[in-house]
Amino acid sequence: MLQFVSTRFLRALVTLFIIVTFAFIVLRLAGDPAERFFDPATPQEVVDAFRHEWGLDQPIWVQFYRYIIAVLHGDLGNSMRENRPAMETVLARLPATLWIMVPTLFLKTIIGVAAGMTAALYRNSTFDRLIMSASVFGFTVPAFVLALVLALIFAVQLRWLPSGGYATPYHMILPIATLSIAGAATVARYTRSSMVEVLGRPFVRTAAAKGVRSKQVVTRHVLPNAAIPIVTVFGFMLGNVVGGAVVVESVFSWPGIGRLLVSSVQSRDLAVVQVILLLIGVMMVFSNLFIDLLYGLIDPRMRGGKTQAA
C-alpha cells in the first residue's frame, strides 16, 4: 500500500512539473513580453527595468531555473492592473468560485449517479430513453447557452431570481443550476455505461445464481464495482466544472476566478493568467491523486502489488 501511494505521488509530481514547464514555454513562445506590452514610445529604462524584473536578460535555462524557484516560493509577479502580487489577486477571488463549485460537485454527483443507475437497471425502458436523451441534451448544450436561457426565463421573464451579481444566496442559484445540469448529464452517462458493463460480468450471474435478491445484487455486487470507473472520471468531471465556471461566472457576473481569468486575458494581465493556470493545475493534480488513492482503497487488486509480466 505504501508503494502504491508513493508511486501515485511521484506521478502527480511529474504531471505538475509538466504543467509548470508548459506555462513557461507558452510564456516564452509569446515572445519578449517587453516588446509586446510597451509601445515604442516608452522610455528604454522602463522597458529594461521590466526585463530585469522578469529576468528576461538571462539565458533561457537560467530563466527556467529562476522560474521554477519562483513558482516554488509562490512568487509569480505582480498583477499589472491591480499592482499587487498576482497570487493575492487570485486568492481574493477563490472563495467566490468555491461557493459555486462545491455545491455543484455534490449536486451533479448525486443527481447523475441516481439517474444513471436507474437508467442502467431499467435498460431500454422508456425511462432509460428519457434519461439518456436528457443527458445527451444536457452535455451538448453549451454552458453559456444554458446560462443565458435560464437567465432569460427566471430573471428576465419571471423575475424570480437575480440575473447576476454576488450579494445573496439567491444569486448562487442560477450559476449552480447551470453547472449542475451539464455535469449531472455527464455523470449519468458514465454511471449508466459503467453499470451496464458490470451487470454483464460473470460474477453478477454468480450472485444471482447463489440466491441473492435482485435488489441486493445491485447494492452489494454491482454498485461497488461500477463505482471504480465513476470515481476515475471524477477528476475529468471536476475539470468540466472548472472550465464551465469560466463561462458561467462571466454570464452571471460572478466575481470568481473564471471571470478574473477572462478579464485578465482581455487586459493582458499575464501574471494573473499564469497564477490561475498553475493554481488550477495544482488543484487538478491533487484531486486526481486523491482519486487514485480512493481507487486503491476500493479495489483490492490495485494495492496488492501483484507481480505482472513486464
Partner: protein, 336 residues
C-alpha cells in the same frame, strides 16, 4: 526441402516489476529454462504441458519472434536470430507459424485470397499477379477450401475454415519448418477433427519439419511423431507418443496421462496431483516437480535431475534415471 531443427540449452527469462511500482526489486520469471532437443528433417515434434510450462514461449523462440536469453536455435544449418535484418527475413521465408485464435490472426478487412497471397507479396515482390493467384488457388485446394472462398472476408467463414486459411497462408511459402501453437484448441470437436485431417494431408504432401504445441494429449498423439512433456520451462520427458502415453515414466507425465478422460474407466482411477503448479517466478530448487510429486524423495528437493536419454527416450527424474541414488538418498535422509 527439409531441414533439421536443433535447439541447444535454450533459455528465456523475463524480468518482472511489481505492478505500478517504480522502486521494487525486479524478479526473474524463467519462462523457458534450458531446453535441448532436435527435430529430425520431416519429423513432427509434439509439445504438451499446462499453462505456465513455457510452451508458447518456446514456439516464439523457435521462430526468432523473441530473442533468447541464452542458448541457440539452429535450423537447416543456419542460426535463427531475433533481429529483423536480412538474414531474419530470409529465415522467415522458410519457417511459418500457425496460431490458436484463427479469427484474431486474420485481418478482418482483407479478403481471404489476398491474405493467403500476402507472404508472396512481401517476400517475392517480383512475382506476377497471375502466378500469385494460381499459387493461392492451389494452396487453398490443398487445405480443402474452394476457390470461391478467396473473395470472402474472415467473418464470413466458420471457425474451421478460418483455421484452414491460416494453414494455407503458412503453406503458400512452402515452409521447411511449421510451428503450430495450439492450432485446434479453440475449435469444436467435429471441426477439430477436420483440421487435424487437413494437417495430416498437407504434411503427407509437403513433408515439412514441424513442432506442434497443445495442451491436449489426444490431439498430440494423433499428429506427432515424438512428444515432449514440459513442466515449468523444462522438458521432463521426451519420446514416441505410444511410449510416453502408454508407459509414462516421469510422475508428472503419468498424472497428465491419467487425467485424460476416457470411456470405460471410472473417474476413481485418475492420479490426482496436489495443489497448483508453482509460480514460474519461484521455481523450487531441485526437481521443479517435487512440490506436487506423489513419489518425492529427499534427493529431489536438493538436486535438479538432468534429462537423460536412452534409445530416443529421455526422462528427467531421479527415480527413473538413477533409482539407486534416490534410494541411497532416502537412506541418508532417514539416517539424518
Amino acid at each position: 526441402m527439409k531441414g533439421q531443427l536443433t535447439v541447444k540449452n535454450l533459455t528465456r527469462h523475463y524480468r518482472l516489476r511489481q505492478r505500478g511500482n517504480l522502486f521494487a526489486r525486479t524478479k526473474t520469471l524463467k519462462a523457458v529454462d534450458g531446453l535441448t532437443f532436435d527435430v529430425a528433417p520431416g519429423e513432427m515434434l509434439g509439445i504438451v504441458g499446462e499453462s505456465g510450462s513455457g510452451k508458447s514461449t518456446t514456439a516464439r523462440l523457435l521462430l526468432g519472434h523473441i530473442s533468447a536469453t541464452s542458448g541457440e536455435v539452429v535450423f537447416g544449418g543456419e542460426k535463427v536470430g531475433a533481429v529483423p535484418d536480412l538474414a531474419w527475413r530470409r529465415m522467415r521465408r522458410r519457417m511459418q507459424m500457425i496460431y490458436q485464435d484463427p479469427l484474431g490472426a486474420l485481418d478482418p478487412r482483407i479478403t481471404i485470397g489476398e491474405q493467403i497471397g500476402e507472404p508472396l507479396i512481401v517476400h517475392f515482390p517480383d512475382i506476377t499477379r497471375d502466378a500469385r493467384r494460381a499459387k493461392v488457388r492451389a494452396v487453398m485446394g490443398n487445405v480443402g477450401l474452394s476457390s470461391h472462398h478467396g473473395d470472402r472476408f474472415p467473418h464470413e467463414l466458420s471457425g474451421g475454415q478460418r483455421q484452414r486459411v491460416i494453414i494455407a497462408r503458412a503453406l503458400v511459402m512452402e515452409p521447411e519448418l511449421l510451428v503450430c501453437d495450439e492450432p485446434v484448441s479453440a475449435l469444436d470437436v467435429s471441426v477439430q477433427a477436420q483440421v487435424l485431417n487437413v494437417f495430416q494431408d498437407v504434411r503427407a504432401r509437403n513433408g515439412f519439419t514441424g513442432v506442434f504445441i497443445s495442451h491436449d494429449l489426444k490431439v498430440v498423439r494423433q499428429i506427432a511423431d515424438r512428444v515432449a512433456v514440459m513442466y515449468l520451462g523444462r522438458i521432463v520427458e521426451i519420446g514416441r507418443p505410444d511410449e510416453v502415453f502408454h508407459q509414462p515414466l516421469h510422475p508428472y507425465s503419468r498424472a497428465l496421462v491419467s487425467a485424460v478422460p476416457r470411456k470405460g474407466r471410472s473417474a476413481r482411477e485418475r492420479i490426482i496431483l496436489a495443489g497448483d503448479p508453482p509460480n514460474p517466478v519461484n521455481v523450487p530448487p531441485g526437481c521443479p516437480f517435487h512440490t506436487r510429486c506423489p513419489q518425492v524423495k529427499p534427493v529431489c528437493r536438493i538436486e535438479r535431475p538432468e534429462l537423460m536419454s536412452e534409445g530416443g527416450r529421455a526422462v528427467a527424474c531421479h527415480l527413473v534415471n538413477n533409482p539407486s541414488t534416490a534410494r541411497v538418498a532416502v537412506a541418508d535422509g532417514e539416517a539424518a
